[in-house]
């Protein structure tokens, strides 16, 4: 088994592998991610300019508009969605966005929560991880 990075709670089941993209601040897809590219536009985000597409996206909690789930869904429609989302507090927008992605577009985007910021604060940029929401585990890929 590869090294266990952290354990949390699977909210939307599934597994995913990919590069990590880590924000230490409140995050939102609403007005904060351009669905046509996947690029983070929010000037208050510490990952502004990064692309969420295909990434295992970590952030502590959501903020702002209840429209975030539809911004999330539009990234899915356009193929620019993250591969998985990992948060500390449950971000309902990510949960609904992911559930709608499955129901409307047949795409699996696992979502986990209950993972504190400290668990991934030492990750190197672009580290690769494997996530299994059913087991509630995030493991290093190497």
């Amino acid at each position: 088994m590869k090294q266990l990075l952290t354990k949390g709670k699977g909210l939307v089941m599934g597994s995913a592998a990919g590069e990590t993209l880590v924000s230490q601040r409140a995050f939102t897809f609403a007005h904060g991610v351009d669905p046509s590219t996947g690029i983070v536009t929010d000037v208050r985000s510490d990952i502004r300019g990064s692309n969420v597409k295909g990434k295992i996206l970590f952030y502590p909690f959501g903020k702002g508009s209840t429209t975030a789930s539809s911004w999330f869904l539009e990234t899915v429609r356009l193929g620019n969605n993250p591969a998985a989302v990992v948060t500390e507090a449950v971000d309902l927008s990510a949960v609904i966005g992911s559930i709608m992605a499955k129901v409307v577009y047949g795409k699996d985007i696992p979502v986990m929560s209950g993972i504190p910021r400290t668990a991934y604060s030492s990750l190197e940029a672009g580290a690769e991880v494997f996530l299994d929401a059913r087991r509630g585990e995030v493991r290093m890929k190497k």
Binding site: P35, T66, S70, L73, V111
Partner: protein, 402 residues
């Protein structure tokens, strides 16, 4: 999450495609958030504006409407992305308006109240203390939980329509007593608060509370429901806040111990320098603006009256526009009482049923926006394309009128 036999039937599709689609979403959400069961709601508030729903949202809303979906409870709707009466004169592109009208048609077919406002609690949707509701619109959810004593989670797009169609919502989060307890206390000792201060206080609380439920002590007794509306909107824009305990206002929250269930909580003082920090963060330009926007969330008729007093005998300078965003209901009242005439006489436009943060501002050619709304300032700078200034209404009017 437990489903009873009627709900199981819906999930199987026995009651039609729309309720099956809705139940599929809601049952998955319920499982994800650890809800024990579905509970009835007294009203819903949903989103149907193109700027945030995008083409994916048009597909979803039409799918609900065209497969026989009908709202089971009184349902209000957030503002549209265009002024539904006068969109052409605001310069909205035809193809953009067309997508918004598709959403309007689908929403009408579903049987919702066509109020197009983010302050439904001042217009057409009035829960009483203890009512469970399923509302979208983060600012309205804060108002419902904190002022009305109703119970709502911050229901996000997609789930909102599903709850409205079923007349049900999963029991979790703010519907449960244990999650409504205050977990952090803010103490305000400032006097002579301006319109900007109420918004900056909200933003400070939202940013520093994080995922904790805040208690805010020290608001003046003279505080108005409009001031609380803007404070709550700013808090919800800055973080995941869904409720603020206001002593003397929030039912059962007169002292911090009542609000926290007797637990000792962290205390943070809000000082003048706390508010200055928020102001300098939100105020990113002092350039002369292309657009001044008031009314995120929508101005009440009282606030339109205050605005008209500030604008009396003044004229908007050349090279800028000023829009005051409001509900159709407040708009009509302002027309009848002469408030509109004063506002429009100063060269300012009233815009009804839409709002600045969900308008295609960039496409309309606005590069700098000046506002007293912390929510708008936060959202505009999130998109990263438009420069935003943040100042009090009086200061703004002094700057852009003569």
């Amino acid at each position: 999450m437990h489903l009873d036999s009627a709900q199981e039937k819906m999930l199987r599709g026995d009651l039609g495609e729309a309720s099956q689609f809705a139940m599929e979403i809601i049952s998955k959400v319920g499982d994800a958030v650890g809800a024990d069961e579905l509970v009835p709601i007294r009203s819903a508030h949903v989103l149907a504006h193109y700027s945030s729903l995008h083409d994916a949202g048009v597909e979803v809303l039409e799918r609900f409407a065209d497969s026989g979906g009908r709202f089971a409870v009184p349902t209000s709707v957030d503002p549209a992305s265009v002024d539904l009466q006068s969109w052409k004169s605001f310069g909205i592109p035809e193809n953009y308006a067309r997508q918004q009208f598709r959403l309007c048609d689908a929403y009408a077919k579903l049987g919702g109240m066509r109020c197009w406002t983010c302050v439904q609690y001042q217009v057409c949707n009035f829960p009483k203390e203890g009512d469970v509701v399923a509302w979208a619109e983060s600012s309205a959810v804060v108002f419902a939980n904190s002022v009305l004593g109703a119970r709502s989670n911050k229901i996000t797009a997609g789930m909102d329509i599903a709850c409205a169609i079923l007349g049900l919502t999963p029991r979790f989060g703010m519907l449960r007593d244990e999650n409504r307890r205050a977990e952090i206390a803010f103490e305000l000792s400032l006097k002579g608060l301006t319109d900007l201060d109420f918004r900056s206080i909200g933003f400070f609380v939202g940013r520093n509370a994080g995922a904790r439920v805040p208690f805010l002590d020290g608001l003046p007794r003279s505080v108005t429901s409009d001031q609380i509306k803007h404070l709550g909107a700013a808090a919800a824009a800055a973080g995941p806040v869904t409720m603020i305990h206001f002593p003397g206002i929030t039912p059962g929250s007169n002292i911090v111990a009542e609000a926290s269930g007797g637990e000792k909580v962290e205390e943070i003082e809000i000082t003048r320098s706390s508010l200055s920090d928020i102001e300098s963060d939100l105020n990113q330009t002092s350039e002369f603006p292309d657009l001044v926007a008031f009314g995120v969330p929508h101005l009440s008729v009282n606030e339109l009256g205050e605005l008209s007093k500030l604008l009396e005998g003044r004229k908007l300078k050349k090279g800028t526009k000023m829009y005051a965003y409001t509900s159709s209901q407040a708009y009509d009242m302002a027309e009848r009482t002469g408030i509109s005439a004063t506002i429009e006489g100063a060269g300012v436009r009233l815009s009804q049923g839409t709002d600045a943060e969900i308008s295609p501002l960039k496409a309309l050619g606005f590069d700098t926006v000046l506002t007293n709304s912390a929510k708008l300032a936060e959202i505009v700078s999130s998109e990263g394309e438009i420069k935003v200034g943040y100042a009090s209404q009086k200061e703004i009017i002094d700057r852009v009128t003569s």
